[in-house]
């Protein structure tokens, strides 16, 4: 049966953008296989409310599992659930490569003895082979990879932002299934969750990202970056590795080869020199703006627009201009 199974990520009771991206990618892949797109929607009671949105983004079937033990990220319960469903016969399993998806997808592949493609930015199916692009070597080399399998489904994780969520006038059939095993009996138990400010936009989802580097000179000066992000109204705050290594910002804010890879519409780099490590994480942004006092900084080579100047003068001026613009709109 050439159907595609996708995982729709729910976090904090909310359907994430990457869930819609995964759904639309599953739709496109199912169309090339001549099959259906089925999405696993699992979470605390209430998760079923998101089934409609998945239908509107291309799902034929939404498989709903509600259980209080699925409220936090529960990789063992999700692996059991997805693998159990997959055994009924699927050609491919798609998982969005969020921090959770990067953990979940290889578990599912290991459980199903399935070959896997990780963090792909394009995906096609031709003549029995899955063909995907995977950025490697700090984003400086793009590998075209082929997966051919007959004995198990292909497990493929999708880079956040690389696949568009496409709305379409459809509605999905909803199936309700019970959790597989006891979600509360996971061998790895979450004892404490610290959530970031829930008003804060996630780096993977924000259309605009304002990032700060060492050029800000001290952790308290990050408020310049935060104020600019607030002025945009739809921006998340990122940081370089130097800054997260020094503890100015949490590691989860790090954008770069060893941190998060992001593709926002607009990326504003404040006091960032542009080390290769950093550029690997943001080079796929649609538009890049750099503000740095050193005209020779490598960030200017990748920036669409650069301002050479003191971040302590330029950034407040930009914040004021964006505020004024939005006040008029």
């Amino acid at each position: 049966m050439p159907n595609v199974l996708g995982y729709a990520e729910v976090r904090g009771g909310e359907l994430r953008k990457i869930a819609l991206e995964t759904t639309s990618a599953a739709r496109a892949l199912a169309d090339s296989l001549g099959g259906e797109a089925h999405l696993v929607l699992a979470g605390a009671p209430g998760a079923a409310a998101h089934a409609g949105a998945l239908g509107e983004h291309g799902a034929d079937v939404v498989i709903v599992t509600e259980h209080a033990g699925l409220a936090p990220y529960n990789p063992e319960a999700l692996t059991a659930l997805i693998a159990d469903r997959a055994r009924s016969g699927y050609a491919a399993i798609l998982v969005g490569a969020s921090a959770r998806g990067r953990d979940l997808a290889p578990r599912v592949a290991g459980r199903l003895k399935a070959a896997m493609l990780s963090d792909v930015t394009t995906l096609a199916y031709e003549g029995g082979t899955y063909i995907a692009t995977h950025p490697t070597y700090a984003g400086k080399v793009h590998a075209t990879i082929h997966l051919t399998t007959s004995d198990a489904p292909a497990v493929i994780s999708l880079r956040a932002g690389a696949f568009s969520a496409v709305s379409m006038p459809r509605s999905a059939r909803v199936e309700t299934v019970a959790a597989v095993g006891d979600p509360n009996a996971a061998r790895v138990q979450v004892t404490e969750t610290t959530s970031a400010d829930s008003r804060k936009l996630d780096l993977a989802e924000a259309p605009v990202i304002v990032s700060g580097g060492r050029g800000l000179k001290a952790p308290e000066n990050f408020k310049l970056v935060e104020e600019l992000a607030a002025a945009f109204g739809n921006a998340a705050v990122g940081a370089t590795r130097a800054v997260t290594d020094d503890g100015w910002r949490p590691h989860s804010d790090q954008i770069g080869q060893t941190g998060r890879q992001v593709s926002p519409d607009l990326y504003v780099a404040v006091g960032i020199s542009g080390a290769i490590q950093h550029i690997a994480g943001m080079r796929s942004a649609r538009t890049i703006v750099a503000i740095n006092k050193d005209p020779e900084a490598p960030i200017f080579k990748v920036a669409d627009y650069g301002i050479v100047g003191d971040v302590f003068e330029v950034v407040p001026a930009l914040t004021a201009a964006i505020r004024e613009l939005r006040a008029k709109a």
């Binding site: 976090r11 896997m116 700090a138 080399v141 793009h142 075209t144 650069g306 301002i307």
Partner: protein
């Protein structure tokens, strides 16, 4: 306490890569190689655990051609006890077959803790560690930024989108290591001398069927950046105009 750390030899990233004549790999000539960053953090964290306990073994394992023995020797010179080289002509681009080969080696090793870097910085797939944990059917925690082991149990911190979580699990277990745990030490001269006498075993990697292959490698198009709008705060109005009318992002 017996700890295994799986490490990968990778090229330095701070270079302009060229594509090999085959069109399916990078041109490796002239590249410098080292242990992958995250694997270095894992080796350091493992050695620190053993040092704190005053007893135990750190076994480092690497899969690939003979050249991977360089990074195994480096880990031994940092303080690992012994090394295992799983010999393969090339490292396949297939996370599953690598994980299967590692799981086959680790299965009966009697390890209390099996550690990986959260990803290799060259291929950046980040799948092998977790997949190996699944194959071994052990509690598995991905991307730990803190890790404590005591009384047969582990506690770890993971950073996720929108927050962090603290988890607890029983040993034996598999963990992959994120930044923030430990900065790898530089091998001392004494360590380098001692490493020469430490055991390094070699056996063939049991990769099984390889189902993923590289059809092509290519350099992505360069961004056509480099346009300086102006200097200082005076350039802000022009930047805003360009963002509105040209880039159309405002």
């Amino acid at each position: 306490m017996k700890i295994a750390v799986c490490i990968k030899r990778v090229p330095e990233m701070d270079v302009k890569f060229r594509i090999a004549a085959s069109g399916r790999a990078i041109d490796e000539s002239g590249l410098k190689w080292d242990m992958s960053d995250f694997d270095g953090y894992a080796v350091e964290a493992a050695i620190q655990m053993i040092e704190k306990l005053g007893t135990g073994d750190v076994v480092v394992i690497s899969l690939g051609p003979d050249a991977v023995q360089e990074v195994l020797r480096k880990a031994l010179s940092m303080g690992a006890t012994r090394a295992i080289h799983l010999k393969a002509g090339d490292v396949p681009f297939d996370s599953f077959s690598i994980a299967a080969a590692l799981a086959a080696e680790l299965k009966d090793g009697g390890f209390d803790l099996i550690m990986f870097g959260k990803m290799a910085i060259d291929t950046a797939a980040g799948a092998v560690g977790v997949m190996t944990g699944e194959m071994l059917d052990l509690p598995t925690v991905h991307a730990c930024s803190k890790l404590d082991i005591a009384n047969g149990r582990g506690t770890a911190r993971r950073e996720l989108e929108g927050g962090a979580e603290q988890v607890t699990f029983a040993l034996p277990a598999v963990v992959t290591i994120d930044e923030g745990i430990a900065r790898p030490r530089y091998p001392s001269l004494k360590g380098i001398m001692a490493a020469k006498k430490k055991p390094l075993e070699t056996r063939p990697a049991q990769l099984g069927a390889v189902r993923v292959s590289v059809a092509a490698m290519a350099l992505p198009p360069e961004r056509s950046g480099g346009r300086i709008v102006g200097e200082g705060a005076a350039a802000v109005p022009e930047l805003v105009r360009l963002l509105q009318t040209e880039a159309k992002v405002l």
